[in-house]
């Protein structure tokens, strides 16, 4: 059924359709609307049976989910940014124990300086935690990916993160096709745990494992993600068959056939990118866009297959490995090892910096002309940066960076963006 609703509410409804049995809620922007809506659903009885628990921290949220999942319940929580970092220890634990928890990450920057706006630093920080990481391009996909995530995670007994851009998607009201309960029930069977705390069959879960077996445990986790590389497209296919639209999968190519330049990106920016690509193509430039839906497991083969024909690859990321550069770029490079084509990394939209079509067109045009620096920070205000660098060179006590910059930027309220 078509609805015009806010992304957070759309996701909340999708999660509710998956019949979660335990939901842990702790507020942090921009994820909050999702658990608010779920809390409402549980209170009203619309979602039942379900335990909605207001925990005292994200660390506790993930821990409660761990306990619930280990006891055989379908568990869900949502977080973002600092919250994800605060629960990091438990995040690793959930995957280490192989508990198929599903968690929405409403992607947001990480401080300091504190910043509530969108980029991918938070989920990227958990890149290696052993969770599957799926990225949504729009609210429809965010909604669909949650339904697929429960199925995928529970089959493999691995936890899944569904990443959606904070505010840009979570707070955007747009059209979504909301499936009906029977459809979802037919697609997603009840949770059948691989291991469960049950007095009638007692087991010890979470034993201490020494050097004699730890590597094997880790390898097996990797093996599962490798299996996921097969299951993700299959599940996306089945989903498409049942629900009549394609969502998820490993990667999605837009106008990549015959493309000389392909832009690789994750999340909501893909939309703007596609518009930009259309514009460039109208100008006769052969540009395509490759969206990565599954960042973990990283689909090396699929990415290579999509890119090997191109002349140049631009990886556009909303994350940044300080001291190195691109994070996604690094993975893409692994996928392309052996191939010789121009590669550019464009860091954009950190901390919510608007990514405009105009800037994209300009940047890509430079890339196509191979005038772009290998590592480019789109729309970076060099004036401010240089002024601060001078300041630091001049005086030892140059003061707090963020505050200095704000002074240089001037009153924000007078700007529309």
């Amino acid at each position: 059924m078509l609805r015009q609703i806010e992304g957070s509410r759309a996701v909340a409804q999708a999660v509710a359709l998956c019949r979660p049995e335990v939901i842990c809620a702790y507020p942090i922007s921009p994820q909050t609307h999702i658990v608010e809506a779920l809390g409402e659903a549980v209170k009203s009885g619309a979602l039942s049976p379900c335990e909605f628990i207001n925990v005292e921290s994200e660390f506790s949220a993930m821990s409660v989910a761990i306990g619930a999942s280990a006891a055989g319940a379908r568990a869900y929580t949502a977080t973002a940014s600092q919250g994800l970092l605060f629960m990091a220890e438990a995040v690793y634990n959930a995957s280490g124990l192989g508990l198929p928890i599903v968690m929405t990450v409403a992607n947001r920057a990480i401080g300091a300086p504190i910043n509530i706006w969108n980029d991918h630093s938070d989920s990227m920080s958990q890149r290696d935690c052993g969770w599957l990481q799926l990225f949504a391009e729009n609210n429809q996909e965010a909604l669909d990916l949650h339904i697929q995530a429960f199925k995928l995670g529970e089959e493999l007994s691995m936890p899944v993160m569904v990443c959606m851009d904070g505010f840009i998607l979570t707070h955007a009201t747009e059209r979504v096709d909301m499936p009906a309960q029977p459809e979802v029930d037919a697609f997603l069977p009840p949770y059948e745990p691989r291991q469960v705390l049950d007095p009638s069959e007692p087991v010890s879960i979470g034993a201490m494992v020494g050097p004699e077996a730890f590597m094997e445990v880790r390898y097996l986790a990797h093996a599962k993600q490798t299996m996921a590389l097969e299951r993700i497209p299959q599940i996306a296919e089945e989903f498409a068959r049942r629900f009549g639209r394609s969502s998820g999968g490993l990667v999605r190519a837009y106008r990549c056939e015959d493309a000389e330049t392909i832009v690789v990106a994750l999340g909501s920016v893909l939309g703007t990118l596609k518009d930009a690509a259309d514009e460039l193509r109208d100008g006769g430039l052969r540009v395509g866009v490759l969206g990565i839906q599954s960042f973990r497991p990283f689909p090396l083969a699929a990415v290579r297959a999509a890119l090997h024909g191109a002349k140049r690859v631009v990886v556009l990321e909303k994350s940044f490995s300080v001291g190195l550069g691109g994070i996604v770029s690094t993975d893409v490079r692994v996928a392309l090892s052996g191939l010789t084509l121009h590669g550019y990394t464009v860091i954009a939209g950190l901390g919510g910096r608007a990514i405009t079509k105009a800037s994209l067109v300009r940047t890509l045009t430079e890339a196509i002309a191979d005038r772009l620096a290998p590592l480019t920070f789109m729309d970076l205000d060099w004036r401010i940066v240089e002024r601060q660098l001078q300041r630091e060179a001049a005086t030892r006590r140059s003061g707090p960076v963020a505050e200095n910059l704000l002074r240089d930027v001037g009153p924000v309220a007078s700007k529309v963006r």
Partner: protein, 542 residues
Amino acid sequence: MKKPFAITLDPGSSLANKTGSWRTERPVYVDRLPPCNAQCPAGEDIQGWLFRAEGGDYEAAWRHLTRENPFPAIMGRVCYHSCEEVCNRGQLDAAVGINSVERFLGDEALKRGWGFAPPATESGKHVLVVGAGPSGMSAAYHLRCLGHGVTVKEAGPMLGGMLRFGIPRYRLPREVLDGEMQRVVDQGVAVELNARVACIADEMRIGRFDAVFLAVGAHIAKRAYIPAKDSARILDAVAVLRSMEGEEPPMLGRRVVVYGGGNTAIDVARTARRLGATEAIVVYRRTREKMPAHDLELEEALQEGVMVKWLSTIRRAGEGALTIEKMALDDSGNPQPTGEFETLETDSLVLALGQDVDLSLLEGVPGLELKDGVVQVDPLTMMTGHPGLFAGGDMVPAQRNVTVAVGHGKKAARCIDAWLRGARMPAAPKHALATFERLNVWYYSDAPKTVRPQLEIARRTSSFDEVQGGLTEDNALFEARRCLSCGNCFECDNCYGVCPDNAVIKLGAGKRFAFNYDYCKGCGICAAECPCGAIEMVPESV
């Protein structure tokens, strides 16, 4: 359920890990000798019968007790129970009332008419016992239990010896005495009364006895020279007490003086009060501390109005009056004359200066050694210098009291048995003593001693009713349970409970416990927390 590798483990699998290998010391269950048992002259297993008594099975307790001593009812009255002086519980609150429980059991037995089974097999040997006192009758009992034929020859008209002629009935009612003596006789012991043995040598030859146990006691009153007018009325204690068993009681008068410091002196004084003497005065040359009489008895005597003149000797006995000289202790604690004199009015003077043994029957027995008026015996076997001739009780060198005598009887009987079988009496292996330090007394509840009811003074001085009452069943049970079971496991489950490694195996009621050395790490908590000190930590040999 395909469980995740290494993350998820099957229950209880750690049993594969034998932590016993960590041990440097291992706990071992031991049995130790409780001080009461060690102390008992009759060698009773006091802790053993108390343990059975606490269960409420009094007959079992009684049978356990009488394996060592056939006279619990008598013991419960006349034994000075030195066992209670060494009882570890004494250091906690008050010693367990062993003596009163023993008496309770003895009385129960008499009341219920429990008896001794005759021996399963007869040995065909025949032993003569001379003297039907506590020692002789104890010997007779044990010999009979061992299957030997026994003949007891008693000079007196009744069984009991000094129990009858030396101990007043207010301390030992005669029905009790008769009851326990008769029980031994009923076991198949031949008794000849008024059968004085003049010459033991002849007796052995004529009676063709395989062995003899002599226990004639010490019945001859010691005399002391006291210048006296003929009119002075002077009697001896043995005679006085013996005549109490006859038809008419002795004439002592209203004012009686008893000369001596032993239990007999006290007995006579207390008897005199009961015979109507308004004044009964004991004259003793030393101080109370030095008095050989049992303090308990002295206490009772004083309660009954008996008076004592300490540090006094009798110099002269005149008509109705005595001359007393005050004494003073010298540095070595011996009394010395002071030259101070006083006069003491009295109707009669009773001499209680101790007794001698009548050794006349021993003349002409080769190898026999007499010393200080008593017969010398091998303390291990109770055998005299003459093979097959054993002796015990007051006629051998030892403390003269009923319990010692009973103990001699038992010991002699067992040695006679061994001797008859041509064996040597194996020295019973003695466990180390269960000292107070080895106990963990925390676990024992505070439980004050049960005091036995006492006959009120008025009736004590006017009648020969028994002074010391018995315990009710409740009290007896309670008293028995106050036992700490020093040195011997009583299955409190403590070791089973406190082991951090579950390495103690409970074998079930009455079977105690075993250690599972596969898992015992040797921490020693079980030993430290064992209340009765029945676990010992011994180093592992490496």
